[in-house]
């Protein structure tokens, strides 16, 4: 995903002089040197402030680093330098919740999307396949607004067309499962044989409330399971709001909130620990929607 991001930005920069990139060492070798690619060194507060300053001067900044250093460390800069100044920009992270767990907690940012939920006006994209990255980046660069794009090493086997709302990947009657970005393949495997609708999201803010409500009304049970690759329940408030006038059940899966997991290992190990692997998601599916139909 990172390479597609870099290639797309460099291609757009060739014909759009507004676009400039601000980095803080991370990915510095991925971009070809040119004056509109600015590496500020290990200065994440300045990275975000400089990005917003570029926007104040009329440019379209791309600000990029590892997720904790882009979102968490300079969070007040994200809040004030972009939001409060009311300027636009495209923030692009790598690392996700635990792409490379050997680095430990310092390089994990399962709370990033929840943090953006404290700020008005941000669009949040969570692509699930490298082929989805190009269209999302292109659209973000062409706009004027505030966009966060969360890239990951995790990916689904195949891409889906990039659309604004949710994409119905499978239709069923016993409820709805929402899969955000790279968790789609896990969700599809965990719901195999279960009569549920599966919705797929690469854009999670704004949250497609109408799409969720329509999917719920299209089935027999008003039951929704949210599966997100970051903090558990991050979108639960928006799902609940979408279903405010419908008696419903809502459950959320994601990175657990109740403990800091002090373990290294692989991303797959962490999936298991958070019940975000196929057995974990399948168990939640079974509890909510009942067992799968007997195999033919």
């Amino acid at each position: 995903m990172r390479q597609v991001f870099v290639d797309t930005v460099e291609e757009v920069m060739r014909h759009d002089p507004r676009v400039a990139v601000v980095l803080a060492e991370i990915s510095r070798d991925a971009f070809r040197p040119q004056e509109r690619v600015v590496n500020v060194g290990i200065r994440e507060q300045a990275m975000v402030g400089v990005g917003a300053g570029l926007a104040l001067a009329g440019m379209r900044p791309v600000v990029h680093s590892y997720a904790p250093f882009l979102v968490e460390r300079p969070f007040e800069q994200v809040k004030l330098d972009f939001g409060h100044q009311d300027v636009g920009g495209v923030l692009v992270s790598i690392g996700a919740s635990y792409d490379d767990p050997a680095w430990g907690r310092t390089h994990q940012a399962p709370g990033d999307v929840a943090l953006f939920d404290t700020l008005p006006g941000w669009t949040v994209h969570v692509p699930g396949h490298p082929d989805e990255v190009g269209p999302l980046v292109r659209r973000a660069l062409a706009g004027e607004d505030r966009v966060y794009i969360r890239l990951s090493l995790r990916r689904n086997a195949s891409p889906h067309p990039v659309v604004e709302g949710f994409t119905e990947v499978r239709r069923g009657a016993r409820g709805v499962v929402v899969a955000v970005g790279p968790v789609l393949d896990t969700v599809l495997a965990a719901t195999a044989g279960v009569d549920v609708t599966v919705l797929y999201a690469t854009t999670v803010r704004p949250f497609d409330a109408a799409g969720l409500l329509a999917a719920v009304r299209g089935g027999r049970a008003n039951d929704v399971l949210l599966v997100e690759p970051y903090l558990e329940g991050t979108s639960a408030h928006l799902a609940a709001e979408a279903l405010a006038d419908v008696p419903h059940r809502l459950r959320s899966l994601g990175v657990r909130r109740d403990a800091e997991l002090r373990a290294y290992g692989t991303a797959e190990d962490h999936d298991s620990a958070h019940d975000l692997d196929v057995p974990g998601v399948a168990a939640a599916v079974r509890r909510m929607f009942g067992p799968p139909a007997a195999a033919a």
């Binding site: 509109r36 300045a46 104040l56 009329g58 800069q77 004030l80 409060h84």
Partner: protein
Amino acid sequence: MTVQGKPGYADLPALFRRMTGDEKHEWAAASTLDVLWVLYDRVLDVSPDRVDDPDRDRFLLSKGHGPMAYYAVLAAKGFLEPSLLDDWTSWGSPLGQHPDRVLVDGAEIGSGSLGHGLPLAVGTALGLRLQGRSARTVVLVGDAELDEGSNHEAIALAGRFGLDSLTTVVVDNESGTHGWPGGVAARFAVEGWQTSTVDGRDHGALHDAFTQAHPGRPLAVVAKVEGER
């Protein structure tokens, strides 16, 4: 206000009093007053009829608290209708205890949280340079505000980038708790800035400091003022 002609420095106390009432000397104690006046009266290429002109100079007030002097100068220079001063900080007024760029014509940034203006100014100056514009970017910070680490990130960057369209004016009333051994200017000089330390009440000295040549280097003007009276 003077009866005729453009408002001048002597009109600032009256504008000030529209916000503060009759507190004696408060206007004169405002540490930023003379710096702001010299900038808007004699240095910056800005005017109310071109607040969106991409080639205007940029003034970023980073030290956003105590904005009465800023509002008074903006009113004197025609950016603000002076009557707005009368009910400042009330519901519905665009003028708060911290300025908001979305609400105040001529305010380039909303400020109040310290340590944001200088990095924003570096990005602004860089963006103007990348677009081939010659506009100046001037940012005002307080000496205590320099405690914020984000400023030191920005000071180093601007020096390394040779951002000669950038000026930082530090209003130094020695209000930082732990101080700056060797003086504030030394912090900038070691990062490659050209520096001047002047009497922050001396309009001529301020003007000379702001208009000195400083090719290839950003400029830091340390304006020394007395502490709270």
